[in-house]
Structures are given as C-alpha cells and as structure tokens.
Symmetry: C2
Subunit: 370 residues, 2 copies
C-alpha cells in the first residue's frame, strides 16, 4: 500500500495497539503521473480528483460538453486546461488515466472508449447500469490491459472505513461472518437534481446506484471473491411524483466463503440531520465486532469517522478524522505506473458492480410480487 511511515498515530487513549499505520503522502513528483477529468455530471468528480492530486498526480485536462460545469470545475482545479473535445485528451500520449463521473448509464461506454485509447479509467460509482455494459468492460479490460477502476467512495474516501479494513486484517474481530450496511442519503430539493437522477434507465435503480458502495464493502470486509444474491427489493414509498425513482432498497447476500451480508439504501435522510446521511457499517466477527458511524455520530457533538470496536479487550471508540488518510489514491497511481493491483484488483471492482446489478435485477423481477 502507498503509505507514508511518518504519519501520526491515533490518540494513545484510543489504544496504541489499534493505531493507524500512517497517513498517505504523494507517491510521485509533479508531472510523473498525468491524468484528465471528463464528464462532470456527478459531483463525485471533485473527490476523485482531490484524491489523485493529493497523491501527487498532475491534473492536465478537463472536458465536459457543458461550459458551466467546466468553469465551476476550474475554480477548484485551475491547473486543468479545458479541452476542446474528449479526443483531445484521449489523443494526448502524456495522459495515463481518465477520471470521469458521467451519467451512470454512460459510464461503461465512456470507460471502454478511454481504455481503447490506451488510458486507464477511474469512474465514479456506480460503474455500470447493465450487465451487458459490465461484460463489454470486462472484454475491453482483458483486450487492452487497461484498468477500469471505480470510486467506491463510501469506503475508499472515509477514514474509519479504511481503518476497519486494517483492523480486520490484524485479526481484531476474528473471522468476519456478517456485514451490515446502512446507506441513507438525502435527496434535497428535487429541482437541484439533474433530470437523469429520476430516470431509471439512466441512474440504474437504487441497488445498482448507491447499492454499489455496499456490495463493494461486503466483498472487501469479508475478504470474499464472489457472492450470491439471496433476496432483494426496491420500493418508492414517499415520492409518487417521481415514478421511476426508487427511494428504498435492500438485499441479502452470501459470499463464497460463507460470510453473509445485508444492506439497506434509501433517500429518507431526515431534514434535521446535520449531514447528508447517517451511513453505518456493522461488521460481525467470531471474536468481536466493529461499527462505523461514517459521517455523523447522532445525538452527540461528534461528526463522523467514529469507529467502535468491541472484542475481548473491551469496548473502545476510535475517532479517526484526519488520522488515517486515503491510501487508495496513491496506490492507484502506482498501480497504473507499475501495472500492479495493490489499490484494488480489477476482479474486485467488476465483481462489486456485478453484485449490485444482479441485486437490482432480482428486485426488479420480483417487484409488485410483494
């Protein structure tokens, strides 16, 4: 992993034996790893570029058909030169990776185009809206040997979620037998959402979209290579004015190693919550358990990045804001340079996508049967 050894440890009061290993630092010098941003449809593009820039990557280009989006983007990243067309980026041999946050239904085709132009690709989640797109990307990745990486931000860009993986690897909870993810999101004023947000063919369904984070976390925390969907459902409980919106979804899965999973996603974050969603992850092991309060610790004065660990040693709370960093991004840069798979394997990125698509398909097939 691309980690600095000079990072500061977690507060000693939280238990030195569970101190984070260190905050990541830039892994390359300026100009050593050049990338471009394109398709600014989802705000996640800012997080994707932040992570890469903090890892030392050089952001050379930006492109979007909407000049307003480009202008806004360049306020945050003035170093990004506006391209006249996507091909200007794809034709630039200096560019190694294309970061993009297109409308979900366009992410797969855009990625294949980038890979066939010789670029690695780093898309916002969800990476696909159909199994056909996934199959095409798998073919394309095999043929081009380029990467189709995915910004599963709810683990990769959340410090307590990163650290949970380290704790599991250290054996802090024994064998992981169950993962439970809650992913509530705030919709906010509908007028502030793009039209595609309400069109199922474009966003893919709630399990496909925000459920993709959840499937990725399950595979990662359970250390599983594959899983089977055992139940899935979607509903529109509170937004009849948007008939294609799914405001609720959940599913159960069982992994190839026997670990089990449940996740729920929804668009019902109450207006009084301080942040966009009370995302939680519960990891049950044979020797202990972990709870992540990712973005807020409700009813307290704490915001997120709180990791609660209970095992044979007792109960402890680790406050991890600013303590762990985001090693994924530096590892991704090095993976692209060295053709390694330390940040995330291609198989894992695709498998998480496959599971959320299959969960969505099962829910779609049985909807109304409830």
């Amino acid at each position: 992993m691309a980690e600095s050894s000079a990072g500061k440890p977690a507060a000693a009061a939280d238990g030195m034996s569970y101190a984070p290993k260190g905050r990541p630092a830039p892994v390359v010098k300026a100009g050593e790893f050049v990338f471009a941003a394109a398709a600014l449809d989802h705000g996640h593009i800012y997080g994707q570029c932040n992570g890469l820039v903090e890892a030392g990557a050089t952001l050379k280009w930006v492109w979007d058909p909407d000049p307003a989006k480009v202008e806004a983007f360049r306020k945050a990243f003035p170093q990004a030169r506006p391209a006249r067309a996507l091909d200007e980026i794809l034709d630039d041999p200096e560019v190694r990776l294309l970061a993009a946050a297109a409308v979900p239904s366009e992410r797969g085709p855009l990625g294949c185009r980038a890979m066939r132009a010789g670029k690695d690709y780093f898309t916002d989640k969800t990476p696909f809206t159909s199994l056909d797109q996934l199959a095409e990307a798998r073919r394309c990745a095999a043929e081009t040997r380029r990467k189709y990486m995915v910004y599963y931000s709810e683990r990769l860009h959340v410090e307590c979620a990163v650290f949970a993986g380290e704790l599991i690897a250290q054996g802090a909870v024994g064998r992981v037998i169950h993962v439970l993810g809650l992913g509530p999101h705030r919709m906010g004023p509908p007028a502030a959402r793009p039209a595609w947000f309400f069109r199922k063919a474009q966003y893919g369904g709630i399990l496909c979209d925000i459920g993709s984070h959840q499937c990725e976390q399950f595979l990662f925390y359970a250390g599983a290579g594959d899983a089977r969907i055992t139940a899935a459902r979607v509903a529109n409980y509170g937004h009849p004015e948007f008939p294609e919106l799914e405001d609720f979804g959940d599913a159960t899965l069982v992994a190839d190693n026997g670990a089990t999973f449940y996740f729920r996603v929804d668009w019902f974050t109450p207006n009084g919550l301080r942040t966009w969603g009370d995302g939680r992850t519960f990891i049950l092991g044979t020797e202990g358990c972990i709870e992540l309060r990712k973005y807020v610790d409700i009813g307290s004065d704490r915001m997120g990045n709180q990791l609660y660990l209970v095992n044979g040693d007792g109960e402890r709370r680790l406050s991890l804001e600013g303590q762990v960093g985001y090693p994924f991004f530096g590892a991704l840069v090095l993976d692209c340079l060295n053709r390694t798979e330390n940040a995330m394997t291609q198989a894992h990125a695709f498998k998480a996508a496959e599971l959320c698509l299959k969960a969505q398909a099962l829910a779609d097939a049985t909807r109304g049967a409830a």
Copy 2:
C-alpha cells in the same frame, strides 16, 4: 393503557414534546388478581413475575419438578407457596393466570393445559417450537376464550422500546417503512446452559427462539397485522462442538401494509462488552428515524435505554432509564380481569409466533443451499 398520570416526565432537556406519558402504577389491590408461576426452566420467569407483581398482581403459587429451582425462586418471591403438583395450581379457582417459562418445546402444550383448566397463560418467548403447536393453541384459545400471552421482553420490558411505540403513535417519524433489529446474545460458559439450549427440537432454532422478539417488534412498530417471509437463513459459524446450535440467523420480511423488515440474531456477543448483548432497533419512517440502543451505548459511559430520534426537528437523544416503566403488565392484568385486549391482542401474539416459526422453517429448508 394502564398508566399513572402522576409519572415523572423525561428530562426537559430531552424535549418536552417527546416526554413519556407517565410511569405505570399498580392497577389492582392485593388479592384482586391472583396468579401462579410454574416451569422455571428459563430465567425470564423472574422478569415475568416482577412485572406482574409491580402491577399489583398477587403471586400465590410456584411449581417446578426441580426443588432447587423452586427454592431459588422463593428467595426472590417468598410469598409464592410451593405447590405439590401443577394440578394444585390449576385446580385453584382463585388463580386467574399461569406464568411459565418452560423448555420452549413444552410451552405450547403447557399453555393449552392451563387454558383448558380455565386459566389465562403468560409464557416466556418463544411461545412455540412448531406450527402444529401454534395451531393447537389457536384452537384452544378460541374454544376456551382464555389468553395465550407471551413475554416478548425485548420490547415489553425495555423502556426505550416502549417509548419508541409512543413516538411512532405520535407521528414523530411519519409512516414506518422499515424496521431493522439486531439481537446479539452472549452464550457464556456452555456448562452454565441447560442441555435443552443445545438441542434444536427443544429450543426450536435461533430464528424461532430469539428471533421471536424481533418479529413481534416488527409487527408492533410497523402497525402491521401480517407479514411474509422473503428470505431467512441460519448457520453455525463458531460452535462445531454443538452441531444442533445455530449461532447465527437472519431474515427479511414484508408486511401486509408494505413495511419491510430485516433482523439478525446471533450468539457472538464479544467477551469485552459490558452486558449480554448490544441489542439495537432501527425504525425508518418517511419523516424521521429512531435508533434504540437497548442495553448499552457502546464506547460511552452510558448503559442502555437510549433512544435516538432524528426527524425534521433535529437530532436528539432521550435517556429513558427509569422514565417510562412497563405499561404492558398492568394492562395485561386489566385485560385478564375485563376480557379486553389493550396490552396485546391475541392475534398479535400468535402472529409474531407464526412469523418466527415460518422464518425458521424457510431457513431450515434452504440450509446448505448457501
């Protein structure tokens, strides 16, 4: 409901608009409602009798074939006269109700015997270990017009769980669309458990046993009359030395009113937790959500009975220990006297049992298919 109007309100800092209505007080005078305790196989009999005695009921008899259990029981309830046989209790016309915590597989037959002797019956959960027992109890209740009530303690005897019902009734979270229950339990030293704990024919399976609490809470919080099991599974992840023990189970349900449910139960409470299990309930409504930390608030200095409410008014934590009481017991006494159904309807008590039995049956039928 059998509640005193003189109870003390919750701390004003917690929000007067959500103050508990008042602590229950005795509803009858000494001798007005006489009951007996029998079949002391599960320690829950103490909670059952405590609740009834606090509501003013008079405990006249105790019976168990094991004199040691009777002796221990009489240390807590010296007023209970040891019966020479169960029939001595059933033949006593003064006795209106039999409270019992038999081995689970014997609870149904014991209840029918009590009802046919003219007594109401108040059993520890789980009330049955087979659908045949449930059918027989339904017949018996219809024929005798006696009550087959169940000590679903994880709601009835937990103040924050009681108050959650009041908040929902007040509309604090809008329409309930999802309930999620986590019921981890500590097994403790196996030698301290009775033999029946490890025999599936006697305890019924984990979904049938500790899952019964969960199904009851779902029906209650969702205001549902019936539900369908959509998925269920059980496993033995960590106790191969007890092949009939199920140390993990979970299930998803959908109610007749469209509300959905997930619950997980297990025997993996870590040794370092302060109490026997970190029981949680999450209730998601269209206008807000509730989280119950029933027995402990991990990583803090608080024990349980913490209710977290987030809705349009903001986030708040209600600390409800000693604030709400247990209105079920007084209501049950009055129900028995007045032949009403304010504490719990017979249909609800049976339906919760039916659901946990059906979940268990589905899990049993598909086990190994995973």
